[in-house]
């Protein structure tokens, strides 16, 4: 492999995982934009999405280890999206909503608690070991420009692009999106204008968690394994992506996700994969230091 | 004014994005006087205070503090550095430490006048820390008596009435032995009786040589106590002078009193 090929290959691999980060980052950024909470449990919702998919695939796979058809994968994505959305909704309703007026710190600590509960519940149900996720049947791959392209990568790009465009449309072109933006700007004023703030927050959790669920299934199928620990690290990276793009900013989360994936892919190719995880945290620290509002974020004033 | 100026603003300008909150505001505050800044809502009064106390940094202009020989520039200094130079302030929407008691709140005011560090807290046998904490305690006690809040010493600040909170905040600012006091609407929300007490108190402070810069809405407070009045409107100074002169100024009547007369 020539240097150029290695570069392109890492670029492609990085962008693929970056698309997944972007899907998860959207949930962080939407929730933060609306209630200024770092939803620490969001990474777990992503991970549980993967397990939802896994359970569904288990029903369809003729024997363990068999591949799944594209139809089953699509069904898995839908089930995971629905399941994760519902889970996110329930978490907000039962854990965060009672603390809406409490100090931010209480909500953040609660979120850490929720994250622990979800992680360990999954561990108790599915076990602590890596679980094998069936791969896509008849998924071809091709070599072009000396780079190995797989159909799964194409699928990840297609699905995430579709969802991101859809979300963009919802937020900027529909009445629902308008209420969401209104609540993000000034919840009190929005309420006075007759917008049900609680409903908008609930919908935000539904959408954000659903996207994370889809990301989970894609992640699982792409890497062929899933573990109850995966949510924590991937979630943190997605959060980094959201901060990188400018937290609270939806296009920012997409750009941040892709960029972080890229940096990580190149870092893994040229440094060593052990240091891969340091890259994400290093980026996080650097962004917060140099440009805390992120790449696309607006200046955030002191909300007194 | 022939007196020596303590605070000197020269062409101070502050913008927020496209909005100019202060445009080229200049005036002086003489030592030992009470100067009031008045103006309608949104005139830029609190922004002015934030620029002086270092909470905001003006884009242009100079702010000098101190007597001629030892004048420091305040622009670019952090709030804590400015507090150290001898400027204390209160806030329009009272910012007490609600969880802490009245006494503790006032003790935090003595922070700039004391020096005990980490080691003094750990090493209990240094005389300095001991004397210092006695001095601070004494100071807080005297201020509480003077402002008639000594009975509330152990109450958390949150639990006090509005008027009481204003007095605690004033005591906290005074506990730092400032050369100059910035008061942001100290009479807001006070009863008639409390208001009269405040005016008497401000006059007494001036007698003791303290310089006061006051933002106030209520003309019944401003006019009797002020030596000098500065009028802001839409971020610009439209007039300054003695209370009597300002009251007769046509532009002021139009911009401010005219509105009030409606």
């Amino acid at each position: 492999m020539t240097g150029e090929q290695l570069f392109l290959q890492q670029l492609l691999n990085g962008l693929t995982i970056g698309a997944v980060y972007a899907l998860i980052a959207l949930g962080y950024t939407m929730v933060y934009g609306i209630i200024q909470l770092v939803n620490f449990a969001h990474g777990e919702i992503f991970m549980i999405g993967a397990y939802f998919g896994l359970s569904l695939f288990a029903c369809f796979a003729a024997q363990a280890g068999a591949a799944i058809s594209i139809g089953v994968l699509a069904l898995g994505l839908i089930v995971a999206a629905a399941g994760s959305a519902l889970l996110g909704f329930c978490i907000d309703r039962s854990a965060y909503r009672p603390l809406r007026k409490a100090p931010k710190l209480s909500a953040l600590i609660t979120a850490i608690g929720v994250s622990f509960v979800l992680q360990n519940t999954v561990m108790l149900i599915y076990g602590a070991q890596d679980r094998y996720v069936p791969s896509l049947a008849a998924a071809g791959s091709m070599d072009w420009m000396g780079v190995h392209w797989t159909a799964m990568q194409g699928l990840i790009f297609a699905v995430s692009l579709f969802l991101m465009i859809g979300l963009q449309w919802v937020v900027y072109r529909t009445p629902l999106g308008r209420s969401m933006r209104a609540v993000a700007q000034d919840p009190l004023a929005a309420q006075l204008m007759g917008i049900s703030v609680d409903r908008v927050i609930a919908i935000t959790f539904l959408i954000g968690s659903g996207l994370a669920g889809v990301g989970g299934v894609l992640f699982g199928v792409y890497y062929s394994t899933i573990n109850f620990h995966d949510g924590y690290l991937t979630g943190l990276k997605a959060f980094t992506a959201a901060v990188l793009g400018g937290i609270g900013n939806i296009p920012g989360a997409m750009v941040g996700g892709l960029l972080l994936g890229l940096l990580e892919g190149l870092g893994a190719g040229y440094l060593s994969s052990q240091w891969k995880n340091v890259i994400a945290f290093g980026v996080l620290v650097l962004v917060l230091l140099i440009r805390p509002r992120g790449l696309l974020g607006e200046r955030v004033g002191d909300r007194a | 004014m022939p007196d020596e100026s303590l605070l000197d603003l020269k062409a101070v300008t502050k913008r927020f994005g496209g909005v100019t909150a202060l445009s080229s505001v200049s005036f002086e505050v003489s030592k030992g006087k009470i100067v009031s800044v008045i103006g309608p809502n949104g005139a830029g009064k609190t922004t002015l205070f934030n620029c002086i106390s270092g909470v905001l940094r003006p884009e242009e202009g100079q702010i000098g503090f101190g007597l001629k020989k030892t004048r420091d520039s305040l622009v670019g200094c952090a709030p804590h550095e400015i507090a150290r130079m001898g400027i204390a302030r209160t806030f329009q929407n009272i910012r007490l430490f609600g969880q802490q008691t009245v006494l503790e709140n006032i003790l935090t005011g003595t922070y700039v006048r004391t020096e005990a560090g980490l080691l003094d807290a750990v090493w209990p046998w240094t005389r300095r820390a001991h004397q210092e904490s006695h001095w601070a305690m004494d100071k807080a006690m005297r201020l509480m008596e003077r402002l008639e809040i000594d009975a509330l010493a152990d109450r958390p600040a949150k639990a006090l009435s509005y008027g009481q909170q204003r007095r605690v905040e004033l005591a906290r600012a005074l506990a730092s032995d400032p050369e100059m006091l910035l008061l942001d609407e100290p009479a807001a929300g006070l009863t008639v009786h409390e208001r009269q007490a405040l005016m008497d108190f401000l006059r007494a402070l001036r007698q003791e040589g303290l310089t006061i810069l006051l933002i106030e809405h209520d003309m019944k407070v401003v006019m009797p106590v002020s030596d000098w009045v500065v009028v802001l409107d839409h971020g610009a100074k439209i007039a300054e002078g003695t209370p009597d002169a300002v009251q007769r100024h046509p532009q002021v009547i139009e911009a401010y009193l005219g509105v009030a007369a409606l």
Binding site: N120 | H80, F97, T108, K158
Partner: protein
């Protein structure tokens, strides 16, 4: 001034000191020594989170730095434990200040995530710097402490006493700190940073002080841990350890010295009592955090001022 709240100290520590004379088996003594270690860590984190209000999610990193510093000094330079102890504390304190410098201006929830990131970076670095840290296998053969000819050895009893002594010292220092000029400034800054700044408090400096003190306490705990175990490995300093220590501080009540100790004792001994439910341990931690924030956010011994306010109205 707040009432003297230190009268509990002499009695408590006296009782703790004589505990090992009762017929406990060596496993039980070991559990007690561990509880004391966690109590020490909880006191240190309490300075950062409870006193200064900085939500720190990477505290285990300072514990790790202390432990590795002690191991390194002992194995490579042959220093005895009693020199390693203060040096490790100083190294961890300095590391806490240095890692704090760049991020101290970041506020609230961002700070929480950045400190978490730093915690992970420290762990990854330790795992990958094989020549100095032994990589994932860690360092082995760290010398036990000696007093004259007496070697602490592998029995937990002497470590228990050592930890209890350090705990007593730290608790005494913490309660003095809280009522000192600096402690008052921390409390003010925690509530309203802007107002604190306008009162002449250099909040950056104050925050770094809190990090330094907290880091030093963790370093001290780390070096005792290293000397007691004889080995250090990176997995002892997982994110979960940071969260566990945080849970202890929160359970006890942010800012309360007594609370941090009681919280640590409860949360380190309960799992041992419920050994058959060991798999549920982290689940219980999570649930506890959620329930506490809902029902009693001020913890067991948290600022009673919340209650006082309710009664005053």
């Amino acid at each position: 001034m707040k009432k003297q709240r230190r009268d509990w100290m002499p009695w408590t520590f006296l009782i703790l000191a004589v505990l090992p004379f009762f017929p406990f088996n060596s496993y039980q003594i070991d559990v007690m020594a561990n509880a004391a270690l966690y109590a020490l860590l909880a006191l240190g984190l309490n300075v950062i989170v409870g006193f200064a209000g900085l939500l720190h999610l990477g505290y285990a990193a300072f514990f790790a730095i202390g432990a590795y510093a002690c191991a390194f000094l002992n194995l490579n330079l042959g220093y005895p434990f009693w020199i390693c102890l203060p040096v490790s504390a100083a190294v961890a304190g300095a590391a806490a200040v240095l890692l704090g410098l760049p991020v101290i201006r970041v506020r609230g929830d961002y700070l929480a995530i950045v400190t978490l990131g730093f915690g992970e970076i420290v762990r990854i670095v330790v795992t990958n710097l094989e020549p100095w840290t032994g990589g994932p296998n860690g360092l082995m053969g760290i010398g036990h402490p000696m007093i004259g000819r007496f070697n602490f050895g592998v029995d937990s009893r002497p470590y228990y006493w050592l930890l209890t002594a350090l705990l007593a010292l730290t608790a005494w220092i913490c309660s003095r700190l809280r009522r000192s000029r600096i402690g008052l400034a921390w409390a003010a800054m925690k509530e309203d940073e802007l107002a604190a700044g306008c009162l002449g408090m250099d909040t950056t400096r104050l925050k770094l002080m809190a990090l330094g003190v907290g880091g030093a306490v963790a370093g001290m705990a780390g070096s005792v841990f290293a000397a007691k175990q004889g080995t250090v490995t990176p997995d002892s300093f997982d994110f979960i350890v940071s969260v566990m220590i945080l849970s202890m501080v929160i359970l006890g009540g942010l800012g309360s010295v007594r609370g941090a100790i009681v919280g640590a004792v409860i949360l380190s001994i309960t799992p041992e009592l419920l050994r058959e439910f060991a798999v549920y341990r982290m689940l219980i931690f999570g649930l506890l955090m959620i329930v506490l924030m809902r029902v009693r956010p001020q913890g067991l011994f948290g600022a009673s001022s919340l209650k006082r306010v309710l009664h005053a109205r």
